[in-house]
Amino acid sequence: MTQPRPEIVSYANALLEAMDGALSQSPNTVILGQGADDHKGIFGSTTGLATKYGADRVSDMPLMEDGMTGIAVGLALNGVYPILTHIRSDFVLLSANQIINLIAKYKYMFGGLFEVPMLIRTVVGRSWGQGAQHSQSLQSLFAHIPGLTVVAPSSAETILDTYPYLIAKHRAPVISFEHRMLYNLDFEVDRSAAPANPLTPRVVRQGRDLTIVATSIMVLEARRAARWLADNADIQAEVIDLHCLSAIDPAVLMTSLGKTGRLLVCDTSWPGFGTAAEVCRLVVEQDPGVLKQPVRSLGMAPAPCPTAKALEDLYYPNLATVVDAAAALVRGRVDHGVPLPAEKTMSDIYKKFRGPF
């Protein structure tokens, strides 16, 4: 019996499939967002849907992030499932009041009288001089707030196993951080592998020497680093894709750390008060004794994002910095002797990315 060829789906197409599926499965689902109906279709994730389902159901919006988010509440309260799109996650800050003060609280505050299920899709920008205002990855701001489900899909597969579930079954508001640099990438998709609960962290690679906990595009960097470390230094990294930031099961972390004893966190945002911090908290509230070495965390440098490519390259972690940190952790010293990859790998997609933005 021959192994079937794996299905290949791009991140953008997975999103498009999830959006199309949601609209076709329920007449009560709508998509609202600036440009959701235009020829660029939120980087290909809504293309053609306005024509297919009508302008009422896939609708352009004026510049009104705050109002639009409030409108989603009203829609949800009156039987419509809204999917909002923001082409940059930075812009959701304009709707922070609605998301944090209203949406996160609507069910609890009214003692369960109401539910406001919805999906807020935001795209994290990077590369080609996005600069300080088009590059933020604000998942930890929302993950701090009870009442919100926060996801950061790292692949086409996680989109396909999570979005349909969230839209059809999860009766709570969700905010998703999609990464612009992932949109154009192709992924192997195994449709039979969907976990029973798509919101748990996923161990995407087994290893014995260290645990790399990663989010979003950093999962790809972590996997590539793991491969490099295996090939070049016989270091076996276990890689965990956190996937859902608002409900991290510490058992998954502890099982892995029980084996490896070493922790490296790779997130798309700043480490301080971020995902790295939360992972550390979860671990040491269970058992700091599992940590054989000081934890390392990699994320954006503690500054706004500069536009100059030269600085941007220093600003973000990349394959080499992940390998370097991992090797230092496992070898227990900074002069670890593990060769570092030349920059000829995935960072190229950042280097080469030239829009559409």
């Binding site: 639009m68 988010t69 409030g70 509440v73 009203g74 309260l77 209203l102 069910k107 009214f110």
Partner: protein, 309 residues
Amino acid sequence: MPHTAAYREMFRTSLLIRRVEEKIIDLYPSDKIQSPVHLSIGQEAVSVGLCRALAPGDLVFGTYRSHALYVACGGDLTQMFAELMGRIGGISKGKAGSMHLAYPAGGLMGSSAVVASHIPHAVGSALAAKLHRSGQVVACVFGDGSLEEGVAHESFNYAALKQLPVLFVCENNALAVHSRIDSRQAFSIEAMARMYGFPYQRIDAGYDFEEVHRTSAATIDAIRTGVGPQFLEVATVRAKEHVGTGDDFGVGYRDRASYDAWCAKDPLLQDRATYDALIADIDAEITAAVAAAEASPAPGLEELLTDVL
């Protein structure tokens, strides 16, 4: 001319609201109600006239100052007092308190303590009504201060663009906390409403529930025929301090004389005959509700983490 049945009913609801709030004032020093209260005394007629004009299935959204709206929507009094007292028998199990009254059975879909944040909710529900062709009208009640917030502009623009079935009702008491409207707004409310092409009406006699009802009913009928959003401004007065149960005419930011002039026209104060005919029954209803509410236990630990997601 003898009063109509409608007059008596609206008078009764208005008086019920006022007596409920006066009961709150009575109870407040006992600390049985541990929640900030924003009283509607003086403003009852707006909610009463409006809600009577809504049909079953219609929806309404309000602010932290929504005792009147809750009662006018037919909200259960025991559940209201229990809510204010933080009891499990409260309409929201004591998690909402005075500032977040809701009564979905009567169409009240929530009330927010962040000024103006509910305006887009009404617009969104009206959009859903339009998408579903449900025939619902959605009403949104807000204070004059709401109009300064950016989200009011965004929401109005969208409602106008999509011609949604929504009635905006501005309860203009000319105050936001201690600030007078002319120190906050460089625009007239009418000009703002008309900018979006909203048909605009103003009621100066905000104490007159019949007029509020007449105007609301006609407006809501029109909205239901598909003419798009409409705007109603109702002049009113807030009798009490912004939050709390006291009077604050003495502290200097507002004048007593215009309040007194208003009282001279307030049917609840002037129509003693109707008042006398209803008061005993109303007070008995309130007394019973308070007693029933007090009998409800406090929510326990099992409620602390319930309904988060």
